[in-house]
Subunit: 280 residues, 2 copies
């Protein structure tokens, strides 16, 4: 087993390098040659800083069920990786934050292993370039996700819609390293740390936008009213003292639509409070 140094890439560099690849991905993934596959394996090994004893495991980790009926998909590796990752983060937090109660440990773990965090990790480390799948819609969803990331540099807490497949491939890669390294938690954690960087700390953990809005309004004696129109048009509207201050939409997930509306209203309220014109 050899270890490489970290490869640090800015989002800008990742975008420039892989946007053309993403747009062509639909066909490209279907026609990958043996040479390309070997090169892809080399590249991913370099990114994650781990050389596989069984390279088939890494190929499997990057293969979606839609790719080819004769290929083994990443599902089992993802199942293991999810559990290993959850365990490693729990272990890390338990020793690192000896006084943190589970009520705070739990959201901290969630922020580090949820779909959005892992999908961000996948994009940051160019995993989407190497994904083998046969669903054009996934390519488009990945592209939309990449476009919206710059708006929320660290974590949007559900405000943006992250493709699950991107999170899956991070988990399957972690699962593959775990199996390949003969169940070595130490080795797997080294890889996971590279992938999850920056690991979210309690200080970085932002409050949910809905909670933030309610807390701020309560403090300043402002009345909040939320209008749920999600089943009608995928939207939520937030009124503060009977004035509409935020509208959010998301047809895929109700919670995201609500969070978006609350976030806009929160920013408006904060802006108004800071200039003292809340009643204008």
């Amino acid at each position: 087993m050899q270890r490489h140094g970290k490869e640090t890439m800015k989002y800008g560099a990742v975008l420039n390098r892989f946007l053309p690849g993403i747009l062509e991905n639909e066909e490209a993934t279907k026609t990958t040659s043996q040479d390309d596959i070997s090169q892809n394996v080399e590249e991913v090994q370099k990114i994650i800083g781990y050389d596989f004893n069984d390279r088939n495991l890494l190929r499997q980790a990057f293969t979606h069920t839609s790719y080819h009926k004769d290929c083994i998909s990443y599902e089992r590796l993802e199942y293991v990786g999810d559990s290993v990752l959850n365990f490693m983060i729990t272990k890390e937090h338990f020793s690192k934050y000896p006084d943190l109660p589970p009520g705070l440990l739990s959201p901290l773990r969630a922020a580090n292993v949820d779909t959005e965090k892992l999908a961000r990790a996948a994009v940051k480390h160019s995993f989407h370039k190497y994904l083998q799948h046969g669903k054009p819609i996934l390519t488009r969803r990945i592209q939309s996700f990449i476009n919206v990331i710059p708006e929320y540099p660290l974590h949007s807490h559900g405000l943006i819609d992250a493709p699950k497949m991107l999170a899956d491939v991070v988990e399957s890669t972690i699962g593959a390293v775990f199996i390949d390294s003969n169940s070595s938690i130490d080795t797997t954690w080294e890889v996971a740390k590279i992938l999850l960087e920056p690991i979210i700390t309690p200080e970085m953990l932002e409050t949910n936008p809905v909670k933030k809005l309610y807390e701020t309004c309560q403090k300043h004696k402002l009345k909040v009213r939320v209008v749920d129109m999600w089943s009608h048009d995928g939207s939520f509207e937030v009124f503060v003292d009977d004035q509409m201050r935020g509208k959010g939409m998301c047809h895929v997930k109700k919670e995201i639509a609500l969070n978006r509306a609350a976030n806009k209203a929160y920013n408006e309220v904060i802006g108004m409070l800071s200039v003292g014109n809340i009643n204008i």
Copy 2:
């Protein structure tokens, strides 16, 4: 670290030994002397086959938040134990069932680590005798659970209502062993195997009663109708070909009431099919 042999006890023996203790538990837990605590630690160590380097960890593992404001409760250990247990079962199943897809691995893991399975493990290994808590209602709920266990020797799949605190204490014990053994998965798995015995296999995994009922009725062209009266009186009624064949109640959890009704209806349908009088 010393290891003990397994202590195997039948449910009958457990019941006879601890029913009086359970009934007196409310006061007993409040007046435990230092000598009693030391003896309890000895006994639990013998049950789980593991001697602690730091016995305070084991005491903490058996202390509910309701016990005493100056005592550290099991919450953090339970948080770790839950994650360690999930990981160990996942790892075990991954290697033991190389061809099982995640769609089957997932319910198999759930059946081995869910509240009911762990609460059964707690009762089987007499953990409830050593629990330190200050809530009389928990003692009564544990007693009701113990009374109903004999009806479902292995797992009821939600048909019976298991007290979460019993499951918690199994997880906190596993967490305590993990921390005390310097994060040794091998040592922790040895203890978990003793506690979870018998570990549920794919062959032992019964189908959910609702699914079983629907599948059987579909096969025999019988019409199923479920009447939800849960918000009214905590019950569900199941009609097969317009005849009421099963009624189930549970005021705590809707799913359990439905499962009970479906289970009764299923047993009736199977009985009728076997004697060929389904239309009588």
